[in-house]
Symmetry: C2
Subunit: 369 residues, 2 copies
Amino acid sequence: MTKRNILLTPGPTPVPPEVLRAMAEPIFHHRTPRYRELFREVSEDLKAVFRTAQTVYTFTGSGTLAMEASVVNFLSPGDKVIVLEAGKFGERWTEIAKRYQLNAIPLKVPYGEVIQPDEVERVLKLHPDTKAVYGTHCETSTGVLFDVEAMAKFVGKTNAIFVVDAISSLAADRLEMDAWGVDVLVSGSQKGLMIPPGLAFLAISKKAWALHKGAKLPRYYVDLASYDKSLKDWDTPFTPALTLVLALKEALGRIKKEKMERVWKRTEELALQTREAMKRLGLELFAKRPANTLTAVLVPRGIDGEKLVSVMRDEKGLTLAGGQGEMKGKIFRIAHLGYITTSDIQMAVSVIKETLAELSRQSSPKVQV
Amino acid sequence: MTKRNILLTPGPTPVPPEVLRAMAEPIFHHRTPRYRELFREVSEDLKAVFRTAQTVYTFTGSGTLAMEASVVNFLSPGDKVIVLEAGKFGERWTEIAKRYQLNAIPLKVPYGEVIQPDEVERVLKLHPDTKAVYGTHCETSTGVLFDVEAMAKFVGKTNAIFVVDAISSLAADRLEMDAWGVDVLVSGSQKGLMIPPGLAFLAISKKAWALHKGAKLPRYYVDLASYDKSLKDWDTPFTPALTLVLALKEALGRIKKEKMERVWKRTEELALQTREAMKRLGLELFAKRPANTLTAVLVPRGIDGEKLVSVMRDEKGLTLAGGQGEMKGKIFRIAHLGYITTSDIQMAVSVIKETLAELSRQSSPKVQV
């Protein structure tokens, strides 16, 4: 019934067959030794992916839930926070901060641009009472990679915690939570972890835990104190999304076998392959500092970007992502993370070439691709 | 690898094979016409199960997330609410209310007992400034069914909204949202809807929507305004748990074919069969007003209730639920909802009989079963 369609979006990403099969196993109860053993295993294996010795907490919810959790668990109303904004997901940090009446200082650059680490240092010096800095590792809406390692050095010298949205970059772009000194790392399931959407993760440093104790923002479902208490018995305070945890076990097994260095390298190779191919097609890359997670490409003048994406998806069996926020219709985005291969990218390149040529002929005889 | 084990817990409940298979389909992207058609279909079909003409909203999260959503979306700090407490899940309403600095008036009875509807009327008269009444349809921790229909009549005469936790009772015990006048109905996926855990639902009356406009409690991930805006295009504000939505479509198709009246009748028959069988074994039922969703049975004196449950699960292939909260070790609970058949119940009865006899012999020669 379902036509074959290559999925190259930066989340959800394709799910390996053995992971899909794991979800079709008969259901069992979560308040059992069997579940606790499963949850112990995935919670331990997640640490290797987060590159941390700290606990990784699992929520049932989308990545945005974990973003909200990393606000309400550490702050009190009126607290000052610096928010790095360079795209739709940076803007989301600001939206959440405003909802919780935080004093949010934006450090903002246009879509596609990158925030320099010494800018973070400068703003931190202007605001020594900053409680937290909210940043993004890979800004999925633009394909830009932030230099989290350098930024973390500056934040680490202050009392502020550094909270990083690594929803799309985890298990794609190199990310070293402990070695770099990231305090709170947020991620989701439907990206480099290669499982369907529905789980979100949070890893927390000791510095962040200390802040948690005095944090007065109200919370219930995402209160880390409950998760921490339950996790001592490898349990969750509320019913977990069992099928996704089963899927996670399979996917983490795959990553463990391949090893993180190789995962990063493989993703980098796909990114390089894509960037080269796009340049050969005469297309312009959008991100000033491109991530390996995904490549954002400017839609050539005269072509309707939304139509480009829908024609490829509905007629040619290739799902890419279009632009988000203010980039709607202006870029398309090709993912490299997770269960994506070099032949998927080859197929994508030829479909992009073919579709751009067709649309150029239709829209204006002057556009050359 | 997995030994066969009959799952008769009041969530998660067994998942029909075609629903499991739907989750193993290749993943696709949610910002597509294909997803919007799927989501339109399940959102419409959910109305028939909730027995409402109102919109049903779907969250990625556990039922507790939807409980929290039905607090933060309708109230402001200091608001007065009446909370009906007769077990662990009633207590959860109070916990959430306290976290959000509400003025919570408890209407409390011991575990196993039922709150009379005229008690709700009496407390409402004492507190005419009540903004909301939080109740439970089936208190899963005790197996008691509340008379939501009668209570709704009293609440309906006031300015307060009636918020009902129907997490376990939906598609199990008769529940008529619109006809009874329930304002907010909360449910989850892993119960009567027969899909794995990970989705939570909220249906909302016009009276509740009016309260939403002025509600000042902070919220982001569960803010109904975002869901309502997205749903106009059959979309969600944040990445949905796609595999579970696919599962939901299959499960709702099953329910639609069977029809709600028949679902309720079938569940009732299993409940009657169980209660009769338990009485024949000389066992005492715990709930003063038993739900059809599940049957709670007192563990006979001299038997360790936790051991009873673990022996049945680990040695005899039958997973029942033990007691929760203060009933830990004192009761066991047999579910009747969803994809459970009369032969599952027969098997359960014979395993219970056999295991009780074995444990009685071990623990004390005086205990007779």
